[in-house]
């Protein structure tokens, strides 16, 4: 129960990127993504530039390219949509390997593929270098409304509670002679989902009351908020990547 500070995507390393305060990383990631999305899709070179920037950050943060590649498979469903577009699009058609493809659809597919992948890579870099605790701290320092950070805090804390309860109920089922296999497992799960929710709530309520009795007032301790906040130097260092991306986007708009 005590190990709720990291998450599956966090990569324990020591690097300059890991040491950056979370709020500058969040801001940098959002600005970078906006620059990517604003780029016209015909400017192929710009997307190469963005990828270069991301690879540079990945190298500095030492998260590993193999990890980055395997984790980026999460966007697979969208890639299928991208591959369907050349066949669905209307307008001018080209013939390639005997297939009738729509030019607009090809560009559209490329657009989704490129922008989607870059967005996923950027968020993976943020996730790999920032713990959950730091992420919420960063959102708080960026003046995200307190009620949102509060819900997010409990959500992350209770995810572990939920997973733990589900595991206990599964063990209880197996020890009473249930034999969960792939599809048949669903029936047991569906029948127990209400009980799971209730058990998790009762455990979660105790966690909450324990926090309240130790002085929780809807915000993380002041010590956390006060130490390690971003300085001007941090903002300047972290601004290099989104500024470069904005420059590329501006150049692409002007030239394109």
């Amino acid at each position: 129960m005590g190990a709720g500070h990291a998450h599956v995507l966090y990569r324990e390393r020591t690097s300059a990127v890991h040491r950056l305060p979370p709020e500058v990383k969040i801001a940098a990631m959002v600005v970078f993504t906006l620059a990517v999305v604003a780029t016209p899709r015909e400017a192929f070179w710009a997307f190469g530039g963005y990828l270069g920037l991301l690879l540079l950050v990945a190298a500095v943060s030492r998260v590993g390219l193999g990890w980055l590649a395997s984790r980026s498979l999460i966007e697979l469903p969208f890639v299928v949509f991208a591959f369907a577009l050349p066949f669905l699009g209307t307008g001018e058609q080209v013939t390639w390997l005997g297939l009738e493809l729509s030019v607009d659809g090809l560009y559209g597919g490329w657009n989704i593929l490129a922008k989607g992948t870059l967005g996923v890579l950027a968020s993976l870099l943020l996730a790999g270098t920032t713990t959950m605790r730091d992420l919420i701290l960063g959102l708080d320092r960026l003046h995200c409304p307190q009620i949102l950070t509060q819900i997010a805090t409990f959500m992350l804390r209770y995810l572990d509670v939920l997973v733990g309860e589900a595991r206990r109920m599964r063990v209880a089922r197996i020890s009473r002679g249930d034999d969960p296999r792939f599809l048949w497992q669903l029936r047991g799960f569906a029948a127990g989902v209400g009980a799971l929710f209730l058990r998790a709530f009762e455990r979660g309520e105790r966690v909450y009351l324990a926090m309240v009795s130790r002085g929780y007032q809807g915000r993380m301790p002041g010590v956390w908020l006060a130490t390690g906040a971003a300085t001007t130097r941090h903002w300047l260092v972290a601004a290099t990547v989104p500024l470069a991306a904005t420059g590329i986007a501006a150049a692409a708009v002007v030239l394109g």
Binding site: L9, I26, M29, V30, T33, V37, R41, S72, I74, E75, F78, V80, F81, A84, L85, L88, G89, T90, G91, D104, Y107, G108, G109, N111, I112, A114, K115, G116, G119, V120, S123, L126, A127, L135, P145, I147, L148, I151, A152, F154, M155, L156, Y158, L159, V161, L162, A190, A191, V193, G194, F197, L198, A200, F201, G204, E205, V207, Y208, V212, G218
Partner: protein, 239 residues
């Protein structure tokens, strides 16, 4: 194209439309933050967290339908609307979406406004209106509550999926011509099935909670308590 889950990733809808929906989502969420201040007490705070965690967990389950050609996931809007009310409920779903886009890359950061509009605003609002209506019409029994939760889930998922069709029609990056009607049809068909799955999970969860801890169900707070058979004396005393 049915493979599109409800999370819109970067580049599917163009910039201006995404920005417009981002502004809309921001305004609506600000209203929710304002209205939920009075709702969030000692009982609702852990419940909101658990509802968000639950939605986060079920959104990880992707439903393969039709031999994997169609996939989608649960949205959880109805569950949030019933258990924590419309204002906190919309915030719960929004928090799930924000964390997913920042950390898991599920749904583009630039498209957050679109995703929040579909799932947090439309989904929760439709579900809550239906719940408020049905709870007054249907008999105040366990099965009445189950039907309410089921219907609210199915319809809120359907309407939310059409939100995406509207956004794609307004600013899809690729012109699919006349097939926008086809897109609406496939989205509706896929999400009808998802809605049924979601309805079953929501109904089971809500009924269990309402039976054991009716004080935790936001939608039942202002109404008479559920009439269950337990109110009558039974041989051997109450269980």
């Amino acid at each position: 194209m049915e493979n599109l889950a409800m999370h819109i990733s970067n580049g599917i809808v163009n910039g201006p439309v995404a920005a417009a929906f981002g502004a809309l989502a921001l305004v609506a969420l600000a209203l929710c933050v304002f209205r939920s201040r009075q709702d969030l007490d000692d009982r609702l705070a852990p419940m909101a967290g658990l509802v968000a965690a639950f939605i986060f967990a079920v959104q990880m389950l992707n439903f393969p339908i039709f031999t994997g050609a169609v996939s989608g996931h649960l949205l959880g809007g109805a569950l949030a609307a019933v258990l924590v009310g419309p204002w906190v409920g919309a915030l719960c779903v929004a928090v799930v979406l924000i964390v997913q886009s920042l950390i898991f890359g599920d749904g583009g950061v630039a498209m957050l406004g679109l995703n929040i509009t579909n799932m947090a605003l439309i989904g929760v609002a439709v579900a809550y209106l239906l719940v408020a209506l049905l709870l007054r019409i249907l008999p105040r029994t366990v099965s009445g509550l189950a039907v309410t939760a089921f219907v609210a889930s199915v319809l809120s998922v359907l309407v939310a999926s059409q939100g995406f069709v509207l956004q794609y029609w307004l600013g899809g990056t690729t012109d699919v011509g006349n097939s926008i009607g086809g897109l609406a049809g496939t989205m509706a068909a896929a999400h009808l099935l998802i809605g049924v799955g979601e309805g079953l999970i929501t109904a089971t969860t809500v009924v269990t909670v309402a039976k054991v801890r009716p004080d935790l169900v936001y939608a039942l707070r202002s109404l008479r308590p559920l009439s269950t058979a337990r109110e009558f004396p039974v041989p051997g005393g109450a269980r």
